[in-house]
Subunit: 391 residues, 2 copies
Amino acid sequence: MPGDVFEAAEYDRRIARTRERLAEAGLDAVFVTDPSNMNYLTGYDGWSFYVHQGVVVTRDHDPVWVGRQMDAIGARATTSLPEADIRAYSDDHVHSPHDRHPMDVVADVLADLGVDDGRIGLEMDAYYFTAKSYTRLQERLPETEFADATLLVNWVRVKKSEQELEYMRQAARISENAMAAGLDAIEEGVPEYEAVEAIYSALIEGTEDYGGDYPSIVPLLPSGDYTGAPHLTWTDEPFSAGDPVVIELAGCRHRYHSPLARTTFVGDPPDEIAETASVVVDGLEAALDTVKPGVTCETVEEAWREEVAKHGIEKADRIGYSVGLGYPPDWGEHTASLRPGDETVLEEDMTFHTIPALWFDEFGVELSETFRVTATGVETLAEFPRRLFTT
Amino acid sequence: MPGDVFEAAEYDRRIARTRERLAEAGLDAVFVTDPSNMNYLTGYDGWSFYVHQGVVVTRDHDPVWVGRQMDAIGARATTSLPEADIRAYSDDHVHSPHDRHPMDVVADVLADLGVDDGRIGLEMDAYYFTAKSYTRLQERLPETEFADATLLVNWVRVKKSEQELEYMRQAARISENAMAAGLDAIEEGVPEYEAVEAIYSALIEGTEDYGGDYPSIVPLLPSGDYTGAPHLTWTDEPFSAGDPVVIELAGCRHRYHSPLARTTFVGDPPDEIAETASVVVDGLEAALDTVKPGVTCETVEEAWREEVAKHGIEKADRIGYSVGLGYPPDWGEHTASLRPGDETVLEEDMTFHTIPALWFDEFGVELSETFRVTATGVETLAEFPRRLFTT
């Protein structure tokens, strides 16, 4: 059944670590609205984040799920929360012009849990925690002290368990299949959507042993003049000879992602692109070579930067980020970044997507790997040739 | 190229209508963060809503796009905004632990536009306008008066133009193909993800004449014991004889959706389910029969409710909502709802997804249509048999 993804003990460990962070931050509770954090703490899974919902974790009470009535059935199916800890609001709270808001029910739950006279952490900068949710909670609980706890649970997620890594490796197998399908589909005259169809099909079909989940970001394949615009989605236009095409995708398994990017070229690549790709590969490998416990995130970026500087290219961008569990619109965890100034120290079983790219006005080349920090170095999750492809 | 979706005059009309609403609401500007509203007013399209971005519309200045530096290229590609009205923030504002937030740049833009001493509408309850975005704007612009303008632009979107309707009809063709593919794929022993693969493939493949865009919600197919949990996504489990399966999907064309739901049954449906399906069809058709300009939204719901009450079923849920342009996580427009208490008067060229359902603890039946209000009645966009299917 849907809920059999992790053992109960794993959720217990996650909740215990969250409570440690509550204590460190001097918080009595955290109200978690990021769907990834809701899933991480309870197993809750469903496409219901288009309405307000969340999970409350206090210092001593089990997590409490709050959501829409029709999604309570999904909460029963995907979590092992007791019935009393599944708190639902009626449908007239949904996109309602009336004087009802789901946060009214959240306020009631916080009061019932006895933390409304305490200090409560809110994910102030999480996608689905709106400004209105915040002002509404303030109105309903004027005595409560609220604090910003945006990444509190995200930081708990940084190091992965064996089971999480297993799902990420499964996702990497799917990524390999989908990348192969995409590269295979791209040809002069083929409309972009046909390549995406091939990729999507492989992402969902998965492998012989298991299917794929939906990725948090759709396959992106900026091409031609638009390879420099990495977040454009596909069109009906055909690929043309002379187009570079970047494919960025992620296999997904039980919401765990293993992103992968490669660049291909329709026809014979001009020297400029082939050389750029070779610089990206060298830079990527220089970055990967630095990865091991004890090294900082900025050191990994520095290795990339120094390598490409040998070719006269100056770049100081973020080249990667912590990755794993995710829901739309993002598979990034928003914690550690591989970029100048990020002094996060790498530890074993952290996982990153490193996606160094060289984008110019006329074209771009991207090449990425998802990796795990091992006891002594690095494990890249996907096995896929690191080079510029051609059609 | 990506930007050729609507004529310039259509954007001009949209902006003019938005300005009328600004004047009515006594606002000097609105800062729009809902990606659908950004697209509606400028044409901007890209999977970039996982970082902060928005569009500012004032009473006299052209819309100004604000977003991440790497997405400015996408803004140039998909909008016809002049370069001066594309305002980008550097990458160190993204998921940054430093003292930088994209709203600092938005505050600068509001000041540059001379509206920081005025009254500015914010989409307080839109998905991507976080609590932090709000408090940050308040900090940066302490003299500015902010007001809730959550659905201001959404209400402008309610009536569709000829070109918008054309895209929704194209999306309906895709929905028909995808529904046929899904129904065809579902069989005893087939894992759920294989049916989703067939659906996704059809959604992206589109028709012979054009491809499909990504829908704002993934195909949902709650089955078996979980048909009552409408937002669960697929698993590796095989369909079993005796399972009802609900398919809810939407073809999408240039971000315009035409959702469609049907229910199928693996094997021979028991009388209870066949009868429930027939009640849903009767209720749906009773609702559709009431649709015409001048009728209120709640009257449409009432027709459904009275029809199912003949069978002793009491339900007073929302059975539909205004639909059209959308980005994840939702294709609903969050304005008019077909539910008790909604006195919105139907006008020609409004479009709704009506999805009445009867959900019980053990099973559920859903059947939906996307419709346009015509001058005299109703046009359903998809042509697909209204009945319970069997495998």
